[in-house]
Symmetry: C2
Subunit: 359 residues, 2 copies
């Protein structure tokens, strides 16, 4: 990872640590470790002090860490992670107390408590908040991940025909994502017909029939960054109800996207979509209107009815309203949107709403 | 999930709770929730008292929970999970103190501490220990998952030819697993040539060349249960070094499998494999010789040099010795093995070592 980018991130993190009088933050959440050090492996923690950043890893990853983290000291642990933390802190001058990220498991926290013979302080959300505003290289990575997802769907579209099962279709799409050198950012959802009325449907053996609707919610993860897209199609001529619902969801999404901009309240964007659906006398969805995405598939901010705060330039969010009518159908449309200095830019426009299949 | 099976599990868990004087265990680890209730969804906890088991879930899962958990009370939460726990406990007669699984995040533990106005007790490993000995239905599920993995590999073998990339091969294998109605039990590892010397290699764009070796470490997850298999092949005529290493690893694995039986020390099985490799003057692997598997891909027991305890009938473990020579090659062979009353049974024999490709 580029030294300058890491330096910029570290400066922003240290500013927060200073403000909160934290002399040594133990970073335990994988995405935060990646963000602060550049390390892309697993099972590793970081320690950040005003003077240095150390990555605590094991022999499987030492070589990789040396390449990925030129700005961090690499500590190769042999025993338990919590013992390695205690040993490192004992060596660091002017650090005696540690503050641990709240995402740590209680088991590890208790082990640290034992090592330090007192309950460490804990803190949540510091690096997550810094991660909220994306650097241009991160935005490029999210866009690249969206392009891979879009191409994968494009290549999968010809296979959407009668007789294919949800599971097979998900498998074909995942294969295309893999072939492009990426992984799934989460388990692909493929739902045919009324199955789509469950927002978290797991692909099953149901086979596609004529006039069936198809909902695909999927994303790629590329260079660590996620995309998240939902598209809906229909095989053949769409039923009148589907056409109506699809148009309303499309309008709801357009209204929410149009509302996106720096300084706009999260609840304003959330309501923009819901109001359109309510005005059309259709049931309003139970999930959020969108969420931040980046190194994690779900990160700050969350666009919900009870959300506090406003959008900031540099954030990347999903906008994904839906309409669900149990036993009948489900329609959701989701794109990834960058908050710019002046408004917004949709990063996933290239993802097809196939004209041949579109409802 | 079958009521009788759940009742048996609950009895075993309650026996442990009684022994440890725990009046209400809050189960937070997903695999433990599944084990204790039958529930296969996400984002849900369970509460187990001497008299009842409750599943705490949300509206996305209420319908599914009703079907999967006939023996549990279903509590549909609307607010935070930790608030729902506090409300439930207030309603349960004779329970005032809770004990929380240590796998909980510190953030959730602190939220519970706030709800209960004191630090809850914590405990680790209770349900994990009960899960160690598998019921015949669980063994059947692991075996079925191994059969799916074996068939998927069988169907992928014809594609192992010059020019295919690691990523494509992994994608094809994953597709076959999906097509069989299962998911991956972990991210498939495909490593060509010297890439196999890194036990946790991530599949890349490297293309298969003549005389290249192929290492595939993969598994299916079916009805919640995992399989975990590693196979090594070579394209065309194997180099002398590869042939030697392959034979030694095969012998090391056979020696460890032969050592498996109830009452046998974990370290005895571990050494059985390492001794063969050491005697052949080859480098001894840095990872464990095997691990338990079931609802999780890695669970108790862990077969390592410093492991304590012995094998018990009903456990299912992997046996996976390897030899890694950086810059040259890596060979690992892995099968899933049931500890029986009298010895062992290999559950993944059906998985091909392809004669056409085998080194």
């Amino acid at each position: 990872m580029n030294r300058q980018i890491i330096a910029k991130r570290t400066t922003a993190i240290r500013r927060e640590l200073k403000r909160k009088r934290i002399s040594c933050l133990i970073v335990t959440k994988s995405a935060n470790v990646t963000y602060a050090t550049g390390f892309m492996g697993d099972d590793s923690w970081a320690a950040i002090t005003p003077a240095r950043t150390c990555l605590l890893t094991d022999s499987r990853y030492t070589e990789q860490a040396g390449k990925e983290c030129p700005s961090s000291g690499i500590v190769e642990r042999t025993g338990l992670m919590t013992q390695a933390v205690a040993r490192l802190v004992a060596r660091l001058k002017s650090v005696r107390a540690i503050t641990v990220e709240k995402s740590v498991s209680l088991a590890d926290f208790e082990a640290l408590e034992k090592q330090f013979k007192r309950r460490p302080k804990s803190v949540g959300g510091i690096i997550e908040a810094v991660r909220g505003s994306k650097h241009s290289s991160e935005i490029a990575a999210i866009k690249a991940s969206g392009t891979i997802a879009a191409k994968a769907l494009q290549r999968t579209l010809p296979h959407i025909k009668g007789g294919i099962s949800e599971i097979e279709l998900a498998g074909l799409l995942d294969f295309q994502i893999r072939k492009a050198g990426a992984t799934n950012s989460f388990d692909t959802i493929v739902a045919f017909g009324p199955n789509a009325s469950r927002p978290h449907h797991q692909p099953g053996k149901r086979k596609l029939k004529k006039k069936d609707t198809v909902l695909i919610d999927f994303g790629a993860k590329f260079k660590g960054y996620c995309s998240d897209i939902t598209r809906c199609f229909v095989l053949g001529e769409a039923m009148a109800l589907y056409r109506k619902v699809f148009n309303v969801v499309e309008q709801a999404q357009a209204a929410a996207i149009k509302a996106v901009g720096p300084g706009v309240k999260l609840t304003t964007v959330d309501s923009a979509a819901r109001d359109v659906i309510r005005a059309a006398d259709l049931p309003v969805y139970g999930h959020g209107t969108g969420h931040g995405l980046g190194l994690e598939i779900h990160e700050l901010p969350f666009l919900k009815g009870d959300a506090k705060g406003a959008l900031k330039a540099g954030q990347v969010i999903t906008i994904e309203p839906g309409v669900y009518i149990p036993g009948k159908l489900g329609v959701r449309i989701e794109d990834d949107v960058l908050v710019t200095d002046t408004g917004r830019r949709v990063l996933t426009r290239q993802c097809p709403h196939s004209p041949g299949l579109r409802g």
